[in-house]
Structures are given as structure tokens and as C-alpha cells.
Symmetry: C2
Subunit: 426 residues, 2 copies
């Protein structure tokens, strides 16, 4: 219940902030604002917070509430403003009116062109096996997570199947597994302390992990029981982490939100090995929302194609993942520069690896910073909140409140204000 109330309050607050954000003064580099007029003159250069205006002692820097409790991927807006002409979706009033998109098998609501674009991108990046797999589209990967639980669970079972993930786990899993008190599945907490010798269970592996950015594998050692793994790979893209091999798991979840930044589109996809599981996932989406928005699938198709084309063809726009990689690298460098001089905060240390897609050798630069408060600060979220930085505390992720999660993919302005404020806090 805490989550449910909290999520609404958080959404309200960040929503307010995002909508009135443009009214606030620019304490960072004025160039970091998004132009209101035509986007023709945007440049693709990576903005860093301006040294002359940042790390200042201006008291005004503390006025604005920074909403970094959500991973709203608005950082990517600027890129898409620059390629607006090529990525404008146009749908005549009579197009895609039917419930049905596809004649193959059980794929009735999947737009075939969307599927092609997903496969094209995975083949380009090399982050997932798609040959001889089933693709299920969903209203975001959150719907597909529920669809996976539904597909794995046994409806005839008298007890719900346990769902676990190693702490710190994504804060959305417990509520999503339990919010309708399903008799099919129930959240059973931290996988690292889970013991189960008898019955079937589901382990969710988020890799790179949300909130802490580490690559992960299953942690529960199966004994006599049947386990099924669900891999949430929302962040397994080359702007965040080195792509070391194509993922090849039974059920893999992806989403455009964190890949391209189109969170409002609500499109996710699952790559599934087993036909029965895929068909049950389709059944879930059929009953729960009678398919998935055609407009969103068509938009996602256009955007994913633009990403692939930016790498495959010479164009005015830089390759999307290269640009986004540089943006994340610049942000993480700036954040680490501030944190290394701080006695209050600590960040995880990641090992560099070579990315087979880009050729860069780099340490993960996640979409969230997993911050630990040092010394006597026991509630890191509360401490930052007292400085008007809203983050999501460790208890939401099954760990201590010494930790808190802070969004790293907001607009430049918010990021620069964050850096500024952390410097001020010391």
C-alpha cells in the first residue's frame, strides 16, 4: 500500500514539475534549455554543465525541487528534435482501425512492420537472439511482465507461484505481482534469501539491474523444484552498458522507453523461446487490453528504424547509440567528479568491458545512480529530500535506506542542477 500511495504522490509531483519546469530560471548553462521554436538549428554536441555558471554558491540553486525519483527518459528528446523530419509519424484517419494486424498464428494484434524493426535493431546491436523466437508486443514491458507471470503460473494450482528477484530489485515488481491479489502468483521477496525445495517458482533477473546497474545472473539454486527465469533487459543497450554477447534466455523483456526514450508510447516486447509461453502471453494481453495500440506500434517502428538507419547509413544525424553513449559518459563523469570530492556519498564501482557493438571499452553508465550515503546518514532519500532532491529510497528496492536511486536520464537542466546541488551539499 505504501507503494501505491507513494507512486501517485510521486507521479503528481514530478508531473507538476515537468509541466511548470520551463517557468523556472536557468541556473545552469542557458544553452541547455530546449528551444521553443523550430528545431532546425539544434546541434548534436554533447552539453556539459557550464563551468562558469555551475558549482557556484548561488543560494537560488536550492529553490527548485528536482524530481529524480522516476526514470523519465527526457534526456533523449533533444536527439529526436534534431531528426524530427525523418521521424514524424503520419496516420490517416482510416488507417489501422481494425482490432487485427497480423494473419499469422496467434499474432493477431502484432503489427508485422513493428516486429521487423525490432528484429533489425537486435541484429544490428547484437544484444539478443531473435532467430527462431516468438515476439510478443505489449503495452510497455510492465504488461509483458504480468503476461509472463500469467503464462508461467499454473491456473489449476491451489497456491500461487512465488516470484522473487535479488535485492536490490526493481521497485515495481512487488506491486505488479500482487496488486490484484492474484491466485496465480505472489511476490516472495529477495531471491538471495529465498529457499524453496518443493514447488515451482519464478526468478526475475534484471540485467543491467534497476536500481544498481550491475549485470546479473540467476541467484537461486534450484533443487527439486521447477524454476522459470524472466529476464528484464530494459537497459541492455549500448548507451548504458557494454554489449558483451547476444542475450539468449527463455523470456526476455525489452521496452522502447529506455532504448530510445519514448516512454509515453507504452510499447514493450518480449522475445520468447517456447511457443506455449508466447501464446499464453498473447492470451494475457488479449484479455487484459484486447491487444496493443496500433498507433504506438507504428510510431515505435518508425523510431527503431531511425535508430538502425542512423548507424547503417551516412546521415546528418550522429548514430543514436553513439550519441547517447557519449551523453551518458559525460553525465557519469560529471557526477563522479562531484561525488569523489564528497564525504557524504558513494557510487558503485563497475568493471570496464569491451562493447562488441561500439568497440568502446567502458564501465557501465546506468540510467540511474545508486547512491549510498556515508557515515551517520541512515536515510539517504530523506537527506536528499531535505535538499529538494527527490529520489527513491532503498526500502523500495528491498534494501537499506542508506541507499537511494536517482534518475540520470532527465533533461540537461535537471541534471546540471543536480550536479550543482550535490556540490553545494558537499
Amino acid at each position: 500500500m505504501e507503494f501505491r500511495s507513494a507512486i501517485l504522490v510521486h507521479f503528481l509531483l514530478i508531473s507538476l514539475a515537468l509541466n511548470v519546469g520551463t517557468l523556472f530560471r536557468n541556473y545552469c548553462n542557458p544553452n541547455l534549455f530546449f528551444p521553443k521554436s523550430s528545431n532546425k538549428n539544434h546541434s548534436f554536441s554533447i552539453q556539459t554543465c557550464n563551468a562558469s555558471t555551475s558549482l557556484s554558491s548561488s543560494s537560488n540553486v536550492f529553490d527548485r525541487i528536482l524530481h529524480l525519483d522516476y526514470g523519465d527518459p527526457t534526456m533523449f528528446e533533444k536527439y529526436w528534435q534534431n531528426v524530427a523530419d525523418k521521424t514524424t509519424l503520419t496516420i490517416p484517419g482510416s488507417q489501422s482501425m481494425s482490432y487485427f494486424s497480423d494473419s499469422r498464428d496467434f499474432y493477431w494484434f502484432l503489427e508485422p512492420e513493428f516486429e521487423k524493426s525490432v528484429i533489425r535493431l537486435h541484429k544490428l546491436v547484437g544484444n539478443a537472439i531473435t532467430d527462431n523466437r516468438y515476439l510478443v508486443v505489449g503495452t510497455g514491458s510492465t504488461q509483458l511482465f504480468q503476461a509472463a507471470l500469467y503464462a508461467i503460473a499454473s491456473p489449476e494450482s491451489l497456491t500461487p507461484v512465488d516470484v522473487v528477484a535479488a535485492a536490490p530489485f526493481y521497485s515495481g515488481y512487488p506491486a505488479t505481482a500482487d496488486f490484484v491479489k492474484s491466485g496465480l502468483h505472489k511476490w516472495a521477496g529477495d531471491a538471495t534469501s529465498y529457499t524453496n525445495d518443493q514447488t515451482k517458482y519464478i526468478e526475475v533477473i534484471t540485467s543491467p539491474n534497476n536500481p544498481d546497474g550491475f549485470l546479473r545472473e540467476a541467484v537461486v539454486k534450484p533443487k527439486n523444484c521447477r524454476r522459470t527465469l524472466v529476464h528484464d533487459l530494459a537497459y541492455y543497450w549500448p548507451q548504458y552498458t557494454p554489449i558483451t554477447s547476444p542475450a539468449d534466455h527463455d523470456i526476455m523483456l525489452f521496452t522502447v522507453s529506455k532504448c530510445t526514450g519514448h516512454a509515453g508510447t507504452r510499447i514493450g516486447w518480449a522475445i520468447v523461446k517456447d511457443r506455449t509461453i508466447a501464446s499464453k502471453m498473447v492470451e494475457f494481453v488479449t484479455i487484459s487490453t484486447i491487444g496493443v495500440s496500433k498507433e504506438s506500434q507504428l510510431r515505435a517502428k518508425l523510431i527503431l528504424d531511425a535508430v538502425a538507419s542512423s548507424h547503417e547509413q551516412v546521415s546528418a544525424a550522429p548514430p543514436f547509440f553513439e550519441h547517447s553513449y557519449e551523453l551518458m559518459a559525460a553525465r557519469w563523469k560529471q557526477l563522479r567528479d562531484v561525488i569523489q570530492n564528497s564525504k557524504l556519498f558513494k557510487l558503485p564501482d563497475y568493471l570496464p568491458q569491451k562493447c562488441k557493438f561500439s568497440g568502446h571499452t567502458f564501465a557501465p553508465q546506468p540510467a540511474f545512480a545508486w547512491l549510498k550515503c556515508e557515515g551517520e546518514i541512515d536515510d539517504c532519500k530523506a537527506f536528499l529530500e531535505s535538499h529538494k532532491i527527490l529520489t527513491r529510497g532503498g526500502n523500495n528496492f528491498g534494501v537499506s535506506n542508506k541507499y537511494t536511486r536517482m534518475g540520470m536520464i532527465s533533461r540537461d537542466q535537471e541534471f546540471c542542477l543536480l550536479r550543482e546541488r550535490l556540490y553545494q551539499i558537499g
Copy 2:
């Protein structure tokens, strides 16, 4: 379970039919095909099946399977082809990327412009009170139905709340209420035989009713228990039924699918009196799909505005509801002409009423025909299936298989073939 399997098979079959449909020969009037090229030359005239080609004795008329088990509203495509220029959605790549749309209160994922268009249309048609109400957008009204059950149920209760509807009830309700074995709510069957003196229950009132087209009111007489009513008003639009007064219920569900024919858009809305219920419904949509597609909301806004404008302004296009009313009237006249000469089938008799919106006095002309097989035919669906007409049998709606539901809003071609085949059957 029967429903789940059946739904997939049905979707598969109709999907196949829709996609390969254009390959079939035209046994009806050739003018009834949809032109492949520019739609500039379409006319808005109401097509009727051509007397010279229909009601013939051609054996070929029996070749094609007619998929009328679903209410895919493809009948409306032609209208929108004619107004394509005005109703083309255009979304640049950087638009609506954020999760957030609205800064007011708990409305974080609602596009404010979509809300305005919904209110504008209800005020124009006069079919629902919107002043001092909360509007909740959903991924189709199916998601909002689940959201309503979630909002009404008591999470602290040890037993799920009963959900009932008077038979014949919409075939989707039982599966939607029960598919994840929720501990919050459970399907309790036909409201007409429901007795409950003790506990809270939910009665769903579908008006006009799906499958039989009658206007409805609650049937359970509440005694000592608390009841909550959910009104599914998907078909309370002036092409289907006379609008006699603005609906004014606690929770009212609507959808663009049946209003304008844009089923693939997956957009529904709830008009809710109570703030707590509305906020819980938003909570459901937040947890289950983290909001609703922005693209779909923006498209729905454009389409609903086009409908309103077609009535409010003089334009080349006829007023949408007037045109759709005439189309439904023509189809029902043709269907009744065939059925009245048949000894095998019977249709419901509806009382005419004056529509306060259009001024027409007419009997309901529903989106489905609720057919009864006469005499010794005990399974009307199976009988029609033997003639390659797929419908949905009465047992799916909680009544005898003497009845079956047949879609009336498919493309002209399918409708003419249906009429032809019913005439042949006799």
C-alpha cells in the same frame, strides 16, 4: 478455459479472413469494395446490396467463411477514408516522449486535449453528464472495467467481491473478472438469479446491451448489502439507439471502438462521480501499464473532434452520426427483410423512441444481431457455422444456444454476403 481457447482460435480465424479478404471474389455489388488507390473519389452514399447480384442462387456464395463472431467495426472505415485529409495524425519524433501528460491532481497520464474532446462530444450528443465528474483514460474500456472492479473492491476483505450482470451478458466479463484468479473480485454469473443479503457486490449494466441491444437498468434488488453499479455504455451512441437522456451514473465506461470505429487505437474512458474511485482507477492503470499510449490519445482526440465538427460545421463530409445512423438503418432493414421471410430465425423486437440528439424516432439498430433459431435447431451457432457463418453462441453470454450473436458492423462486402447466405439458407 473454453473462452480462452476459443478467443484465440476466433482471433486467428477472423484475422486470417481480414487479411486475405481482398483476394476473394466479389459476390456482392462491386462498388462495395474499398478502393485501393486514392480515397478522393469515395462517395458518402449509403450502399445497399445490389438487387441484381444479391439474393441469387449462385453456389459460389457459400465458399467464403464469414467471421461475424467479433464486433470489428470496419464498417466505419469508408467514412474515414473520405475525410482522410482532416483526420491525419502527425506526431514528430520528439513529441510526447515523457511518461507525463498532465499536471492536475492524479491525472498524470491523461492528455488534456483528449479530455476536452471527450467532453465536447458528450455535450454535443447529450448522452452523458460530464460536469463535475472525473475522467479516467484507459487502454480500451476493457482495462477500465478491470480498473473499476479494482477501485470498488476492498483489498482488506478476505473474500473477493461478487461481480454480476443480467444474462445475456457481454461474453468478455467472466474471463476479465477471473483470468488472474484475483482475490479482489470474482465473477458470480447472471444477475437475474443472484441473491445476496450480506455482502457487497458489483452489478455491471451494459446499455444498450451487448449482445441483445436492449436498454437496461439494474436488476438485483439490494437488501442489506452494499452494491456498486458499473455502467458499460460503449453502444450508447446515436447510430445504434435513440439518445433519450444524458446518462448520469456513478461509473460509466465508453470507448472509441464502437463510437467512431477506431478499435485498433485501444482508447476508452470512464466518467466517474467519486474522486476516490477515480483515483483508484488511475492507480490500477498506473500499476498495470504505467499510463496509456500518448499516440492513441492524440489520435482519439483528432477523431472525436472531427466527429463533433462534422455536426457543428458545414463541410463536405456528412455529419458522422447521421451518416452512421443511416448506414445502420439500411443494414437492419435489409437483415429484417431477409429474416421476416425465414422460418428458421427470429430477431428481437425493439420499441421506437425519439432520439433527442438527431430528432429521429427509431427502434434500436444494434451493432450485433441477436439471432434466435426457431424450431428444432438447438445450437444456432453450430447451425450457422455449418453454413460458414461464424457467430458467438448463446452459452458465451449465459443463455441457451438457441441464441447466437452476429456482428453487424463489418465491411459492406461481408454484410452483403451474410444477407445473401441467410436468404439461401431460408
